[in-house]
Subunit: 230 residues, 4 copies
């Protein structure tokens, strides 16, 4: 009947037990493995089953550690999730953002096509990115939706929407496009197909179908559209 409330996520326990908050620097190399292993295992499970449906046992089994060890490292399930977000997801998500707002001097065409290149390169390097983005960022009820809404989208929206509309007004961009939906379209042409790659590959056995095909295809489509004959 001890109803003592658990310590808040990410905070070091008040009893001097457990490492609580991640302590990156200065850790003996021998111990980094198990914590990092757990983060990687958690990431894998999140991708495979979704964050909400992943249990600590799933992760512990995947990482080859005991559930109690996960509590030792991360205090609780929320702490583990937060650690994965902070140490695995955010650095990459941050790169998504940086790819867009980091090229202010370029022409809009360079920005947009550069964004496609950039997303594809990130997916190449971090194959989990597309799956997690689709399920946890975009999906209703996704665990990371708040990250997009609060931390990433507002800035991107503010910077790019006005510019897009401006280019349209100047006749330098297809006026039929909706400025508010353009960035989404680029994601829909890159991360979305990338999340389904295993499916498409399965549908075309014997043929190579990789992220680079998605990149080329997306660039061709946004370049001139379908170019349907009249």
């Amino acid at each position: 009947m001890n109803t003592k409330p658990p310590s808040s996520p990410l905070g070091a326990g008040p009893d001097g037990t457990g490492p609580g908050a991640p302590r990156q620097p200065g850790r003996p190399a021998g111990n980094v493995d198990r914590r990092a292993l757990a983060l990687d295992a958690a990431l894998q499970c999140y991708v495979r089953r979704g964050i909400a449906a992943t249990t600590l046992r799933d992760i512990a089994g995947q990482a080859g550690v005991t559930p109690a060890a996960l509590h030792y490292y991360f205090a609780d399930a929320a702490g583990l999730r937060d650690a994965v977000i902070a140490e695995r997801l955010m650095p990459v998500f941050e790169q998504v953002r940086a790819g867009l707002i980091g090229m202010p001097d370029a022409s809009l065409g360079q920005v947009l096509e550069g964004f496609i290149d950039h997303l594809c390169a990130l997916v190449q390097e971090h194959p989990w990115l597309s799956a997690l983005w689709i399920r946890e960022v975009v999906s209703e009820g996704g665990s990371l939706r708040g990250l997009l809404v609060e931390r990433m989208a507002p800035e991107i929206t503010r910077i790019l929407t006005a510019r897009i509309a401006g280019e349209q007004a100047a006749g330098r961009l297809n006026s039929g496009l909706d400025p508010r939906l353009l960035m989404v379209s680029l994601v829909g042409l890159t991360l979305f197909p990338a999340a389904g790659l295993p499916i498409w590959q399965q549908l075309f056995p014997g043929q190579a179908l990789e992220i680079d095909h998605i990149r080329t295809h997306a660039l061709a489509l946004v370049g001139r559209g379908l170019e349907l004959a009249e």
Copy 2:
């Protein structure tokens, strides 16, 4: 969002009794209500939390029935999920498929643009479609992925991929596109943005942003691309 109860089974036969799915024989009509109520509640929960993370208790609470009643109607959790798929999801998924392979005489342009129209109309009518498609069909580990891989995609792929490649060879379609990825692109320009509509609406407060804007935008993009000034 998505709190509107889904419309009654779309695959219902012309006699209005709706035998589109297996229904235990001998049940009085008066009880169909509670079964249908449970299916609707389950669909809502699936959209909200994802299929894997939804518990029977969630559904029972949402439907206002006891968990035991769900067992009575559907035998077990898998049976309920299968019933939702068969009686709620498949009729709509079937329409997705029918929209594509049902117009063999039309030109490819008509087929592709018709597909965009069709998807948007379906989302309009069944707001849960985009969310569920994104999370459960496309996502790795999605509960409905098998449906796409085994029942829908092969036929579509067989019919359309060859035709697309043919049109490209004949110079009637942008040769830079990848025939294998074209259908995916159209979904990525419709269902994917639709799944995020609540987010985009939140980012542009005071402005109407609805499925019709997605449709117009997608048609403009596939029509001629970005039309960037040289």
Copy 3:
């Protein structure tokens, strides 16, 4: 990683599961047994180990039911504790209070001696009363201390302290006594020795030593004190 918060104590579950709040009337007799059995078992464990140190398993084992059954009956450990308080303890505690404030017309002597009688009669009938009062009501950190401070003592204090002081002023009560401590003294001469009865009995083997001896002794002491020879 389902971090859904548990339903609040004593409240009926929102999912239509479990009886939640105690439902006294109208229950089939066959089922009353197990719930009441659990309450009795919990009371025994509380007396034996203290409320804070009692686990659900202790109680379940004592009652001969599974821990899950306790959750079914009482939602959670706090709910069980609250039920024991509400259905077992409070009725008796209420009698402690009623014994005092229920005799306004009597002389103070009658009230005080009546209180001793009353406490001893209650202990006779509810042997757990003294142990629980000593450990959980009076002890620092006791789980029921709030009950005394907030619900019982203020009224008793308000009614009796003034009267006691008045009688002292009128010379009808030992003026050396502290009006604020008189009621406590009576408890210290009844419930406190009663809680230790097993010890005293053990120390005087072969002799009867029961609550009635405590009553007689307490009445003699408050009657005329030690009556020490000068």
Copy 4:
């Protein structure tokens, strides 16, 4: 309340090294500090939550050491508890005993009133005494009950009960009293009210209510009883 750290071991030998309890040989003096700190912290926790409900982590947190350090010093939780008893509790409990059997030449009146004075003085010096006595010595299932039954009460009982009965027979003591319960009554008039002091103080805000009031009141009550007007 009771946040004042307990004074250093009372049973310490005349040489100031305090061998009153078993102390692993060969430990440098510099480390005694941390051990003593842990004992004090444990005592505080025992008072606050009760011995059975106190965890090693509670104590470690309170003492500002790691749980592993407690194991290093005391082998296990039982060893820590035994050390607290031997080095903190027993010296004071011993004084309770010594106060009674140490004045064989005095009159019974002096012994009894001296006992009240003595208990109050001990509580004054060791505020934890009353709480621990009430909860762990007297309460059913109390962790220290054995101490009273086996080590303290028999001797006191043997020496005093006979004497009390003798005085009664000689007409020098209220014959209505029960010789077996007289010592308990004195405790019930001192330690018991003392344990509840925080409550009574809370009930009479603005008034000083301290151990000395308890002493005066108890002496007045045992002196001549209530002195109720006929």
